[in-house]
């Protein structure tokens, strides 16, 4: 496929690998923020093409993985109701809640449906006026325009039985949480290309300046990732800390202003709890007051539900890059994709699942 195949070119990948070897004189820790990039890195063995002194740290960029246990429990409670059709992206169904997952709710007779797009859920609401149709709105900035449009259209079209359970997270506050942590090991970032396709990359300049880290907006194919690493290592070696854009074919500095406009009409910034990390101020999206009637959490009286995270899973440390999946005692033993302990093993983009799938140890 055009715009995919050429970026998997072996010669170009090997050439970038060689260039990285040529310019590297020191040890560097670079974090790829996005789970999609983690997946590609492990799948194509990109980390094995790098000098030993370059360590890639897998970041928290998988919304499925960072959705708090509290929200998973809320989704299970809502999906179990007889008057509800619960719609979700497929990835969320096997994320373990405190007692069960959404797939189990479905097996027990709950009407849980897998959606490709939130607009499909809106259509189901239109077709089932006697049911409450709830969409589990997870995602980073990439997914926010789609979810915002579903709510915007529900209001425009007067559809009253459509609700969303909002679990939106934002990337720059997560990067800042990592950089400001006293355990921080990360010296450079590959920013997530599709998040920036929507938001642009203006938000990263103050972060690069404040923490003196290079940030390179990077795509998802092997050649993209290797070029992004090359640009990042080059900055580190030259003592620069700038924001650069590798993924120019899709990302502009301003991002998609039309999409940002609808997102800010429907959502505003709010505090969000990240699974395994905890609460990060201003790190999520919540519904604007004008759209609050679409909030499933309020509608079903679950706004005050608080659930503490279990202790046995180290996904919090995995998500912050403090530990690698294979450094967990449970990895591949009591924790597998079939019987996951935590979200990083559940989601196909989770670091643990990627290690398990491509690198059986």
């Amino acid at each position: 496929m055009k715009f995919i195949d050429e970026y998997r070119d072996k010669d170009a990948s090997m050439r970038y690998s060689e260039l990285i070897h040529n310019i590297t004189t020191k040890s560097w820790n670079i974090m790829e923020v996005c789970g999609g990039q983690t997946h590609a890195i492990v799948k194509y063995g990109i980390d094995e093409l790098l000098p030993k002194s370059i360590r890639l740290i897998h970041g928290p960029g998988c919304p499925v993985c960072v959705t708090s246990l509290e929200l998973i429990d809320k989704s299970i409670e809502i999906a179990s109701r007889e008057d509800v059709i619960f719609c979700s992206f497929g990835d969320m169904l096997r994320v373990p809640g405190s007692k069960k997952d959404l797939l189990q709710v479905k097996a027990e007779g709950g009407d849980v449906r897998i959606m490709y797009s939130p607009l499909d859920a809106l259509k189901i609401a239109k077709d089932n006026p006697l049911k409450e149709v709830v969409f589990f709105a997870v995602g980073f900035e990439t997914t926010a325009p789609a979810n915002a449009m579903a709510v915007y259209q529900a209001k425009e079209q007067g559809i009253k039985n459509f609700l969303i359970l909002v679990s939106h997270v934002l990337v720059p506050p997560a990067i800042e949480a990592i950089l400001s942590s006293k355990n921080n090991l990360v010296q450079g970032f590959l920013a997530a290309g599709h998040v920036c396709a929507v938001m642009g990359y203006n938000e990263y300049f103050p972060l690069a300046e404040k923490y003196k880290v290079p940030i390179v907006v990077t795509g998802f194919e092997p050649v993209d990732i290797l070029q992004g690493i090359y640009m990042c290592v080059k900055q580190l070696e030259e003592g620069r800390h700038e924001v650069e854009n590798q993924y120019v074919r899709v990302v502009s500095r301003e991002g998609n202003l039309t999409a940002q406009n609808i997102v800010s009409t429907v959502f505003k910034i709010g505090t969000r709890k990240w699974r395994g990390i905890g609460e990060i101020p201003d790190s999520g999206l919540v519904l604007q007051d004008d759209y609050i009637e679409y909030d499933a959490s309020l509608k079903f009286g679950l706004a005050d539900l608080v659930v503490e995270e279990p202790k046995e899973c180290i996904s919090g440390q995995i998500l912050q890059g403090i530990k690698k999946p294979n450094e967990c005692e449970a990895f591949g033993k009591i924790c597998t994709p079939e019987r996951p302990l935590g979200a990083t093993m559940v989601s196909s983009e989770g670091a643990c699942a990627a290690y398990y799938r491509y690198r059986k140890i």
Binding site: D11, C62, T142, M149
Partner: protein, 87 residues
């Protein structure tokens, strides 16, 4: 989760208004309906990058080749010709 895939716009139906503008988009032979509200400038024949049924941006063809130009600039590689890599 943030997976977004490039596809070519085959046709556009804007009868539902600007915010419900739908394109038939071809992903390597599979055709899907895609909401084009966020890419009002996109035309038939152009490529858009699509995530959960929405086009996030049009793909800039001129910029797309620059990953390889960058390599050529660095070391004058001539084997990665644009023609060969257009796929």
């Amino acid at each position: 989760m943030c997976l977004a895939v490039p596809g070519k716009i085959m046709s556009i139906d804007d009868s539902g208004g600007e915010l419900m503008k739908i394109g038939k988009v071809n992903f390597g032979g599979i055709i899907k309906d895609v909401n084009l509200a966020y890419t009002p400038e996109a035309k038939v024949g152009e490529y858009v990058i699509v995530h959960v049924g929405f086009a996030l941006n049009t793909v800039d063809e001129a910029e797309a080749a620059k990953v390889f130009e960058y390599l050529r600039e660095i070391d004058g590689l001539d084997e990665l010709t644009g023609e060969e890599k257009q796929g």
